[in-house]
Every structure is written in structure tokens, then in C-alpha cells.
């Protein structure tokens, strides 16, 4: 340790530490521009000049090493003059108009101008005349705004070890860029964003996607984590999976969601839609990485660990053993409450067991992962139908309605009640219950979402010879996942997008469906569908069975005693999951209509937290299961990084999958390490220290002299 004095303030600092950081930490502001706490000092901007006793001229404090007995002054006439000159020189090549700069208001140079004062106008100004480079994904380079502080170069070279950015010269101007002015992808950029993070001006900045402005900076920087309804720490588990630490990776998923392997099979992966890698070529196959990690998890990291508060003496009843109900049950149990789940169907899992076909989600995976809920001490009663939840309040302190949406919608049209017309939910439930279903040899499915495809592909597997699927939406706006559509086509399912359902024909039973082609399909202000048909496009398809797959609703009515709202969903109070009846809460599809398993899990967590608070707890259900390690900021170079193709999962050929309900998607297997290597590791950027601005110090001046 060394004792130094800065502006009369004595302080003990580590021997050899740079004086600038010593001062900033002690609440003494010294202006600086090229200095960044995470980067090696450069000593180029000359803003951080100080005078040291015994020294002839002012020296830069960023590369001045603290020595015992040093007496330092951060201001003098000469220092002020040199700072001013330096700032003026920097500004000679910088655009004079701040207000048109996207960095306006968060620019470090701007705050320096405010601190040091306006320039005198005695120097020659110039326009550097660089073209703004907007061809790159994710990043914009505007070298006219660059002040050559070299932070980005150091971040790229020293901090990240990527070595893409360097000082270059064009004519007599110095700028920062890639070798031979290559595009970033061709220069093997890893798009970590460190350059944009450390840039003090608007020279290197992020290209944010439209409509992301309302998000916090953190959520914009790591959009996958934001996109996940449960906010699973995706970059962290992808990194751990990349290190073949699958136990730790699965534990990270478990910090937010109790069913990693189920999610690994069927998650609707909103994260992948947000993934920044998608701007470069294709998003990282996050779901398949999760699946691989979960399949190789031995549980060493989380089993028997995590939170378990002592018994609270409170009792909670949860109606519905789907993902929302089970998740809420699991976390409420961890908060110390006695939890009973009542499920009307014989098996737990809700739509995971009775909606999603087993060729997408093997039933042993559900059994294995839901067993954990009972292991945690939750009581589950199956085949118990709850008619009136308010009666449960006599026995329980709180009730959660997580009944899902199990009632299919029957569109009103001619022939809609003919024998041979079935509803999506009924059909899938019967199949999954193992009940015999007579669908004949020809099936037409009406609907274009994932459930419609589940119905069509299930029908195919039950032996239907000809399965057709028709929907109102055009091919490109069908709501089903692309992979579902492609796989269905491979399995020989005929798809008729942009068709209206005119009528179901037949007298005794269904004989066919009449369609017309859709010219345009839009929604009006009241969100009502407006359909324009194309004349003379009448089409008749003969069929034995018609399956309505046009949405589903909660199987509830007014006898439940709860206020129901749009789409027969349980009404909850704003920003809350409280129903109209005190003590009764609701979560999952029953609240917001059909969404996804991960949305149900997120809703279940929210309900657990809210119910815990209702029961007197603190509502904090967060837990750390995987070790909280510091990660290296050095990602190194990786030739061809931007061109690394996404690994698609291995899929059984259509002929091997159409006659059975075995899992068809075999995951990405050993390609997992390749796929984890495609991650941009956007989260590393959050570890970069934030600049310390003059404004952060105002009000502190003159303290403790």
C-alpha cells in the first residue's frame, strides 16, 4: 500500500495503482476520455493531466503509478490550459452539431465539453468525410464522430482478444476499422459489442431493432434473456454447456423453470426469435442446447440444494397440474407452504400430457420431471374435478386456478355438429388417454397453428390415409412453427393456406368441406377478422372427419363463481393474478388464453410469488443453483465465426415417423459444442465497467479536505 495525497486528501491506495482510478474511487473527479477502467492506459487524450510534487510538467494520471508519499494536484492554470487545448484539438475533426447525433445526452465527449468549457474557435475545423458504415449487422461505424480514444481497439484486442479493430490510415486521417475495410463478418468479428460499449461518442454504436426503445439497456444488450417469459439466464447456460458442464447448465435453467428437459423438447423458444445472432446468419439453436444439457444432467448441481423455507402452516390448493399449476406448486412448497394439486385428468402435465403429442414430447420425460414436484413435498390428487373453487377456501388459505384452456372452439357454420366433426382438444385428449378414436381414412383439419399441426400429424399416425390442413392465413403468416409445417409436408399432409371454411357437407355424417380461396385477410380496429374471398374458387374436399383446430378456451362457466372475461378467461386484477374472489388466484392459459409452456411456467412463478406474499411471505422465490462464477472476458479470435451455420437437429425420415408416436426429433447431439460456440456472448458486455462522468461527482467536490 502507498499513502498518496490528491488535492489535499490523503488516501491509502495499492502501490502502483494508476492515480486516475485512485482519485475517481476517492470521489475526486479528473476529466478523462481515452481511459477506461477495464483497459490498459493509453495516455493519448491528455485530459487527465495532474501535477506531482517534484515533477517539471503535468503528467497523465492514467499511467501515473501511485508511489508512497506522492503529492498530486488535479488542477492548475497550466493543467487547465493543456486540457482545453487538447479538447479543442479533439473537437477540430468532430462534427459540431451534437443534436443530430444518436448519442446525444449519453456522450462522454459532450459531458467533457460541459466540464472543461466551450472551445475558443481559434483552431482549424475540418470534416473528416468518412462514409458511415451501416452494412454490418448489429453495429454502425461513423468514423466522423470518432475521437480516436482507442478504447474500442483496446477492448477488441486486449479485453476480448479478437483483434478485428485497429488504427488505420486513409490519406492523412487516422481512423478505426478492419483490415482492408472489410465488413465485420469478413474480418472475423465476434459481435460481442464491447466496442460499442466502451465508445464514448457516437462513432461505434448499436443498431437496435425497432420497438426496443422501451427496454432497459440490459434487456437490449441481452435480448434472449428478455425474450424468455421466465427470463432464464440463457447466455450463462449456453456457455456452461459449451464447457460440457451440463449439470451446471441444467441448474441454470432450473433457477427459473423446473422442467428443463420438457422445455428442451417443446419450448416455443421466444429467445431464439430475439437472439442477436439471427441478425448475422441464424439464431443460436438455444432450445436444442438446453435439451442436450438437460438430457446429460446428472443433477449433481441442484438435487437436494436450493431453497426450502421451514413450514409456514399455510395451506394452498392448486387446481390443475399443468406447467403453470405445477410450477406454482413447486415454488410455493419451497416457500414453506403445504401444497395440494387437484387434477381432473388421470395424469399430471396438463396440455404437456394431453395436448402435445408424444412424438414431440416423450411421456417418460414428463414423468421424470414432474416427479420432482412430488419429491419436493407437493401432494397431487389426480382425476379430481373441482367444480367450485370457493368451497376450497374452507380448507385452504389460498387457491390457484391453473386449469388451462381445454375446451376447443367450434366455428359456427353449416354442418358444424354433424357426426365426424371433432374438436382439437377432445381429439388430442382422447388419443392421449388411449381411448379409441374413429376418424376414418380421410381427415381435414381446420386451423393453422401448432395445435392444428398436432392434430393433423396425430391423425396421420393413427392411420388416416389422407390428411389435409386448411387455414385462413396465407402460408407465410401461419402461426405454426416453420419446422412443424415443413415436417407435416414431409409426412404427406396437404396444406391449403388462405382458404375459408364455407360449410361442412353431409346429412347423416360428414362427407366433406367446402372452401373458397382468400383474397385478403386482415383485422379491423375491433380486432375482428375481415375476409375477402376470391370469386370462382370454390373447392370441395371429401372427408370422413373434420377437426376444428381454431383455438381453445378455459373449460369454465359462471358456476365457478369467478368473473370471466374475454375468451372465457378468468379475469384478474391489473398487474396481479388475483381473481374476483379474495384468496383465489389464477395463472397460465386460464388467464391469458393459449400461449406456451414457458409462458405458463413464468405465470406459475408469478402466482407463487404473489400467493406467498398473500400468505405473509416475502414473495422472493429466486434461487441460485449453479455456481456464480466470474467468466473470462477474453473470447479470442475465431476464424469464420460469423459464417458458422446453425446446426439443425437430426430428424427421423418421414417414412420412419408417420406410423408411430416415437420421438421424431433426435436433438443436435454432439453438434452442441459447435452450436454453443455460435453464441455471441452478449452478456459479457454487461461486465464492462461503466464510465465515470463529471455529473456523477458533482456535489461531492470539496469533501473531506
Amino acid at each position: 500500500m502507498a499513502v498518496i495525497t490528491i488535492d489535499g486528501k490523503r488516501m491509502e491506495v495499492p502501490d502502483g495503482r494508476n492515480v486516475l482510478d485512485c482519485a475517481l474511487d476517492a470521489g475526486i473527479y479528473i476529466p478523462h476520455l481515452c481511459h477506461h477502467p477495464d483497459l490498459k492506459p493509453l495516455g493519448s487524450c491528455r485530459m487527465c493531466l495532474v501535477e506531482v510534487d517534484g515533477g517539471e510538467t503535468p503528467v497523465t494520471s492514467c499511467n501515473l503509478k501511485a508511489k508512497d508519499g506522492m503529492n498530486i494536484r488535479t488542477d492548475s492554470e497550466e493543467i487547465a490550459r493543456l486540457r482545453m487545448l487538447s479538447l479543442e484539438l479533439i473537437l477540430t475533426g468532430h462534427p459540431e452539431d451534437c443534436s443530430t447525433c444518436p448519442k446525444y445526452g449519453s456522450c462522454e465527449l459532450q459531458t467533457l465539453i460541459q466540464y472543461i468549457g466551450p472551445k475558443t474557435g481559434r483552431l482549424k475545423m475540418r470534416i473528416k468525410g468518412f462514409r458511415t458504415e451501416e452494412e454490418n449487422p448489429l453495429l454502425v461505424h461513423d468514423m466522423n464522430r470518432c475521437v480516436l480514444c482507442g478504447r474500442c481497439v483496446r477492448a477488441c484486442q486486449e479485453l476480448r482478444g479478437v483483434h478485428v479493430l485497429d488504427y488505420r490510415q486513409k490519406g492523412l486521417e487516422t481512423y478505426v476499422g478492419t483490415v482492408h475495410e472489410k465488413l465485420l463478418a469478413d474480418a472475423d468479428c465476434r459481435f460481442c459489442g464491447a466496442c460499442a460499449e466502451v465508445c464514448p461518442t457516437g462513432a461505434i454504436r448499436d443498431k437496435w431493432k425497432e420497438g426496443q426503445d422501451h427496454r432497459s439497456k440490459q434487456d437490449r444488450i441481452v435480448p434472449c434473456r428478455y425474450g424468455c417469459p421466465a427470463h432464464i439466464d440463457i447466455p450463462r447456460y449456453v456457455r456452461l454447456a459449451g464447457e460440457a458442464r451440463y449439470d451446471e447448465a441444467a441448474a441454470v435453467v432450473r433457477e427459473k423453470a423446473p422442467f428443463p428437459e420438457i422445455l428442451g423438447h417443446i419450448c416455443s423458444h421466444a429467445c431464439e426469435l430475439e437472439c442477436k445472432r439471427g441478425e448475422i446468419n441464424k439464431s443460436v439453436s438455444i432450445r436444442n442446447i438446453k435439451r442436450y444439457a438437460a438430457e446429460h444432467d446428472t443433477g449433481s448441481c441442484w438435487r437436494g440444494k436450493g431453497k426450502q423455507l421451514k413450514d409456514s402452516g399455510k395451506k394452498v390448493c392448486i387446481v390443475g397440474a399443468g406447467p403453470a399449476g405445477l410450477t406454482a406448486a413447486y415454488y410455493l412448497r419451497k416457500q414453506g407452504h403445504e401444497v395440494t394439486v387437484k387434477e381432473s385428468l388421470p395424469q399430471v402435465g396438463g396440455m404437456m400430457s394431453y395436448g402435445i403429442p408424444s412424438y414431440r414430447l416423450p411421456r417418460d420425460v414428463i414423468t421424470k420431471e414432474t416427479a420432482l414436484i412430488t419429491e419436493a413435498g407437493v401432494r397431487i390428487e389426480t382425476s379430481v374435478k373441482v367444480e367450485n373453487p370457493s368451497l376450497l377456501l374452507k380448507e385452504y388459505d389460498a387457491v390457484l386456478m391453473a386449469v388451462g384452456s381445454h375446451r376447443g372452439i367450434r366455428l359456427t357454420m353449416e354442418g358444424d355438429h354433424l357426426p365426424g366433426v371433432v374438436l382439437n382438444t377432445d381429439f388430442l385428449r382422447q388419443v392421449n388417454l388411449g381411448e379409441p378414436v374413429d376418424i376414418g381414412s380421410r381427415v381435414v383439419v381446420l386451423g393453422g397453428g401448432n395445435v392444428a399441426f398436432d392434430c393433423a400429424r396425430t391423425a396421420k399416425r393413427l392411420g388416416a390415409e389422407r390428411v389435409l390442413l386448411a387455414c385462413l392465413e396465407a402460408r407465410e403468416s401461419m402461426t405454426a412453427d416453420e419446422e412443424e409445417i415443413l415436417q407435416a409436408e414431409e409426412e404427406g399432409i396437404g396444406i391449403y393456406p388462405a382458404h375459408t371454411f364455407e360449410r361442412i357437407t353431409g346429412t347423416e355424417k360428414v362427407t366433406g368441406v367446402d372452401f373458397m380461396k382468400v383474397k385478403s385477410f386482415t383485422f379491423d380496429d375491433q380486432r375482428k377478422a375481415v375476409i375477402e374471398k376470391q370469386e370462382g374458387t370454390e373447392l370441395h374436399l371429401e372427408t370422413d372427419t373434420v377437426i376444428f383446430a381454431v383455438g381453445q378456451r378455459p373449460d369454465l362457466d359462471e358456476t365457478s363463481g369467478l368473473l370471466l372475461g374475454r375468451g372465457n378467461c378468468i379475469q384478474v386484477k391489473e398487474h396481479s393474478l388475483k381473481t374476483s374472489c379474495d384468496g383465489i388466484f389464477a395463472a397460465g392459459d386460464a388467464v391469458y388464453g393459449t400461449k406456451s409452456v414457458i409462458a405458463a411456467i413464468a405465470s406459475g412463478r408469478e402466482a407463487a410469488s404473489e400467493i406467498d406474499r398473500y400468505l405473509g411471505g416475502d414473495g422472493d422465490i429466486s434461487e441460485k443453483l449453479a455456481p456464480d462464477e466470474s467468466v473470462s472476458s477474453h473470447i479470442g479470435s475465431c476464424p469464420g465465426f460469423a459464417y458458422r451455420e446453425r446446426q439443425e437437429p437430426q430428424l427421423l425420415p418421414a417414412e420412419q415417423r408417420v406410423d408411430n408416436f416415437n420421438i421424431a426429433d433426435l436433438g443436435i447431439g454432439e453438434c452442441v459444442s459447435w452450436e454453443t460456440g455460435r453464441c455471441l456472448q452478449c452478456d459479457l458486455r454487461l461486465n464492462i465497467a461503466q464510465p465515470r462522468l463529471w455529473g456523477d461527482y458533482s456535489g461531492q467536490e470539496g469533501t473531506d479536505v
Partner: protein
């Protein structure tokens, strides 16, 4: 090994050898205090003349360089040895590379990046040869110097500048990066920082403003652009000197030149920036009259600037050879083979390329009245003066 190290140290210490151009502690003293993994050797970054590289013209010189670098590396415990050769002397690299790389010395082209070599020890090339001489026992304190770029001489440090250049006329001298007036002729070489071994005599016809303007532009081209004062300071200084040379100088220039020049001296990390403003400052100090003549009165005492001279082709001497026509960068010469060539003086940039190349010495320059010239193409020999 350590015996050898002690030997080298003893020899350096006995000879009081210092790094080239350094006034401070001796090499033995500073090496004794420092260990480094890398030894970097080269010229000063501010050295644009490269005359000291003549020392590597002989095999003996190259051998001495290798011996010197090996010995210095031994003292420092440095495993890595790098020799920097300036970009303008790339041919030197080509000539010596095989030889020195066999001795484990890496040769690089360009400026020495002092930031990259923050933890290395940087020494001058001349010092390495002197170390070798110390070990051979032939070392004598002396200074290598070239007058006007001629071959390198080795002289005693107490030689006066006047004795060195052999005459006392001329208006000043450029010694290293510094400009002096004739008073410098009385000075001994050891009193002057001779950072590139070059002494240049400045005659009455040398315009100091033009000289500095060119020098500053040269420095701008060489600057790595990392230090603000070097990058932006040189730009401002150059712009001001260019303005001054063109008669567009402003009143505040001298003060601003001094402010920027002094800031550069202390505010840059390598000699290119630290010495880069020296000529600009030297002119203000020693040739302020000449500077002010340009700035205030638009007069050039050396008779270089503000000349409205016109270049023309003498219709009698021209042989119609097409040489000047083909080589004029501005394309302002008209003519056909065997016809008298003519210069369009509104297009002429005054580069004088034609004057230099004309074998018949037919291209003339005048500030006075033009003689009668042909107005259209006339065959050589057919032009009638009258």
C-alpha cells in the same frame, strides 16, 4: 553465462556508455536497475533522414549490431530482440534480414510503437554498435554525423558545428530536428541534441516557412495517429505554416504555434510527436523576422513564396520533341511532333517538371514580361519574332 554478463556490464560501465543522444544515466546504470523480456532497437521515430543506417552498409557494422544486441539482451535478460527499420529504408531490411534473423533478431518495418513496447527496453541502433566496440576495446566517445545527407563521418563531440561544415556563411543550420541561426556554428556538437545524425546547411535561398511546412506535412504522414497532440497538433501547425507560406497567416498564429508546439513536446509518447514541432518552434525563435515578413507583409526574404512567375517555352529553342507534353502532370502543354510547344499558363501549376526535363533548355521561367510567343501551332524553326 552470468560471468559473461558481469564482463559486459563491467566494460559498459568502464566506458561510461550512454544510449544514443541521452544525457541522463549511463547504460550500465539503467540496465543494472532493469530487466525486460524484450529488447527493441531502432532509430528515433522522429528520424526522417536515416543517415545513421549507413552504419549497416558494411558487414562489420551488421556484425557489431548483432553483437551489441546480443549483449544488451543478455544484460536485460531479454529473450526477444526486435530491430525496427523505418518504412523508407525497407531495402535495408531486405539486405540484412537473413543475416540478423539467424542471430535471433526479428526485423520489423515502421515506427516503434512505444505503447506496445511499454515493458520492453528501447535502445538506439548506434548504441548497439558502440556496445560492440566497447567489447572489442575500440570504443571512443564520438558522434556520427552527415552533412547535407552525405556519407557519415565520425567526429569528436567537441567539434564545433562551424568546423564540421567547413564554412561559416549561410543563414542557419538544421541540426537533427532543430533549426538554428548562425550562432549555432559556434556550438559544439555535444551541446546539441543530434537525434538523427544529420546537419543540413540552410542557405539564403531556403525559405524557412516552406521548409517547415514540408517538414510538418512529412511528420503528419508518418504519425501513427494515436496521441492527440501529435495527430491533431501537427495538423494545426501544418495548416498554419501553409497559410503563412501562402500569405494567409493570421495574427494569433505565432502564439498558437508556440502553445501547440510546447504541448507536443511533453504531451506525446514518442520522439515523432515530441520533436515534431521543433522546426516550427525553431523558426519562431531564430527566424522570427522571416516568419513575420510572411505573416504580416506577405514577403518572402528567400524569394521562394508569393512569386507570380510564368513558365513558357522559348519558340526558338523548342525542338518539338513531345517530352514535356507527355510528362506534364497538369496536361497544360499543347503541341505536335516537330511543332513548337506551348504552355497554357492558366492551367499551369508551376511544378517546373518541364524545366527539369527539357534537354534543349527551352522551358523558361520569368517574373517579368513575356516575350512574343506563338498563338497557334507553328513548325519548329518557322516562328517569326517581331
Amino acid at each position: 553465462m552470468s560471468d559473461r554478463r558481469d564482463d559486459v556490464m563491467r566494460v559498459l560501465s568502464a566506458n561510461h556508455l550512454k544510449d544514443y543522444g541521452v544525457k541522463g544515466p549511463s547504460l550500465a546504470e539503467s540496465f543494472a536497475r532493469r530487466q525486460a523480456s524484450c529488447l527493441v532497437v531502432g532509430l528515433r521515430n522522429s528520424d526522417k533522414s536515416g543517415v545513421l543506417l549507413q552504419l549497416l552498409d558494411t558487414q562489420e557494422g551488421v556484425n557489431q549490431l548483432i553483437t551489441g544486441m546480443e549483449s544488451a539482451a543478455l544484460l536485460l535478460g531479454a529473450e526477444k530482440k526486435i530491430l525496427f527499420i523505418p518504412e523508407y529504408a525497407i531495402h535495408v531490411k531486405e539486405r540484412i534480414e537473413t543475416f540478423v534473423s539467424a542471430a535471433g533478431i526479428e526485423v520489423r518495418i515502421g515506427l516503434i510503437d512505444v505503447r506496445e513496447h511499454e515493458d520492453s527496453v528501447i535502445c538506439h541502433l548506434v548504441t548497439m554498435l558502440e556496445i560492440a566496440e566497447c567489447l572489442e576495446g575500440t570504443y571512443e566517445e564520438s558522434i556520427y554525423v552527415s552533412v547535407n545527407g552525405g556519407s557519415l563521418k565520425r567526429v569528436s563531440p567537441d567539434t564545433s558545428v562551424g568546423d564540421l561544415i567547413g564554412r561559416k556563411e549561410g543563414k542557419g543550420v538544421l541540426i537533427g530536428n532543430r533549426i538554428y541561426d548562425n550562432h549555432a556554428l559556434e556550438m559544439n556538437l555535444e551541446e546539441i541534441e543530434l537525434d538523427n545524425g544529420m546537419v543540413q546547411i540552410l542557405g539564403e535561398n531556403d525559405c524557412m516557412i516552406r521548409l517547415v511546412e514540408k517538414d510538418l506535412l512529412e511528420n503528419r504522414k508518418r504519425s501513427c495517429g494515436k496521441c492527440v497532440f501529435c495527430r491533431e497538433g501537427l495538423l494545426q501547425l501544418h495548416a498554419m505554416y501553409k497559410d503563412t507560406a501562402e500569405g494567409k497567416g493570421k495574427n494569433h498564429y505565432p502564439e498558437l504555434i508556440r502553445e501547440i508546439g510546447l504541448a507536443m513536446k511533453h504531451g506525446c509518447l514518442c520522439s515523432l510527436g515530441q520533436n515534431g514541432a521543433q522546426p516550427a518552434l525553431g523558426v519562431l525563435e531564430h527566424f522570427s523576422e522571416e516568419y513575420m515578413a510572411h505573416n504580416k507583409r506577405k514577403k518572402c526574404p528567400a524569394g521562394v513564396c508569393f512569386l507570380k512567375s510564368v513558365i513558357y517555352i522559348d519558340p526558338v529553342l523548342c525542338t518539338g520533341c513531345m517530352e514535356c507534353l507527355d510528362r506534364c502532370p497538369a496536361g497544360c502543354i499543347e503541341g505536335r511532333p516537330g511543332y513548337i510547344h506551348m504552355i497554357d499558363s492558366t492551367e499551369c501549376t508551376g511544378c517546373r517538371a518541364c524545366i527539369e526535363l527539357c534537354e534543349s533548355k527551352a522551358v523558361m521561367e520569368t517574373e517579368g514580361k513575356l516575350p512574343k510567343l506563338p498563338e497557334r501551332l507553328v513548325k519548329c524553326g518557322k516562328f517569326k519574332k517581331r
